[in-house]
């Protein structure tokens, strides 16, 4: 903001990012944050519908869902959970850097966040690839011969019901991965703008709101991980 000082003297507006219909910067920030939270609530309900479907089908077809769940890799799932948690920490530190006006640190944290997000997606890609190789992808080639290992007791399951598990698995993790891709794109744009010096301690709302979005995507995974990977594992 090269002209910010001149603009400040002209209009007595301390903050060039302050829009005229807000009383002050704090009010503007609160309004933006409130709007973001309203959007996040719609996201909660959107994923909530899928969680609800998953719970109901899981109750009705427990053995098949448990057998399907046992085919997922806990190692990769746990690794991805850790990656997302670390990325949430880097996001919160990015917001802190923006608040302190440390431009290079802010860009650095954003870049690390994008890299962590991509790590998550690559690992997810390997998991999906394994599903394709095992013919665990719902569709005409779907084939499921595994049994539910109930503490050593092998219980055969209906492949149609297992297909239902993998349909929900791909719908939920796929929609979550799409949100991750959008988040990475969002942070890429913000990193470029931050590098150009668009954000000052007086105005960094986009960083904060993108951070809120990223944290919500993290929270969704925090629930997806135990529900898809962990429940009914104990061998």
């Amino acid at each position: 903001m090269r002209n910010s000082e001149a603009a400040a003297m002209e209009h007595e507006a301390h903050n060039p990012a302050l829009l005229h219909h807000f009383a002050d910067a704090q009010q503007q920030k609160n309004a933006a944050s409130l709007g973001m939270w309203l959007f996040l609530v719609t996201e909660i309900m959107f994923f909530g519908g899928m969680f609800c479907a998953y719970l109901i089908y899981r109750l009705n077809h427990f053995n098949a869902f448990a057998a399907g769940s046992q085919q997922l890799s806990i190692k990769l799932g746990a690794f991805n959970t850790a990656v997302l948690i670390v990325s949430s920490v880097t996001v919160v530190l990015a917001v802190k850097a923006a608040e302190a006006g440390r431009r290079k640190l802010l860009v650095g944290y954003l870049v690390v966040t994008i890299l962590l997000g991509m790590t998550f997606l690559v690992v997810k890609g390997f998991e999906y690839n394994e599903k394709f190789e095992k013919h665990h992808v719902p569709g005409p080639t779907f084939n499921f011969t595994d049994t539910f290992d109930d503490n050593g007791k092998q219980i055969p399951v209906n492949p149609k019901e297992a297909e239902l598990f993998f349909s929900l698995y791909f719908a939920m993790t796929g929609m979550h991965a799409l949100h991750m891709i959008i988040g990475c794109g969002l942070f890429s744009v913000l990193a470029v703008l931050a590098w150009k010096g668009h954000y000052t301690p007086g105005y960094y709302t986009p960083i904060e709101n993108a951070g809120l979005y990223w944290h919500l995507v993290d929270i969704i995974w925090i629930y997806l991980f135990p529900l898809l990977y962990l429940i009914s594992r104990h061998s």
Partner: protein, 99 residues
């Protein structure tokens, strides 16, 4: 203006500590999954997930100490409506076997 501007963020060490706590809880939930606790396996897994989500919402998303109190109401309403969706749906499906 700057005197009234509220800084909701905390120290770097605080965030790192919360992050370490979240990683620890992840390790705990993975470990608990390999122990046969019967019906308590899903309960413990979801309980730990909820603790983790609460930590993220309160401290990473700055709902605790937010300058706008309405934010808290929006967050609570979101989870309230989600709980209506889940409890009423499950109240139906869980009780169908009684017929």
């Amino acid at each position: 203006m700057s005197e009234h501007e509220e800084h909701t963020s905390r120290s770097q060490g605080f965030y790192l500590a919360i992050g370490a706590g979240l990683l620890l809880l992840t390790a705990t939930t993975v470990g608990a999954a390999f122990v046969n606790l019967g019906p308590f396996n899903p309960i413990i897994a979801l309980l730990i997930a909820t603790i983790k989500a609460t930590l993220v919402v309160l401290f990473f998303m700055h709902v605790k100490g937010a300058s706008e109190k309405l934010t808290g109401a929006i967050v609570v309403s979101g989870f309230f409506f989600l709980s209506i969706l889940l409890t009423l749906s499950l109240a139906d499906y869980l009780t169908r076997s009684w017929r």
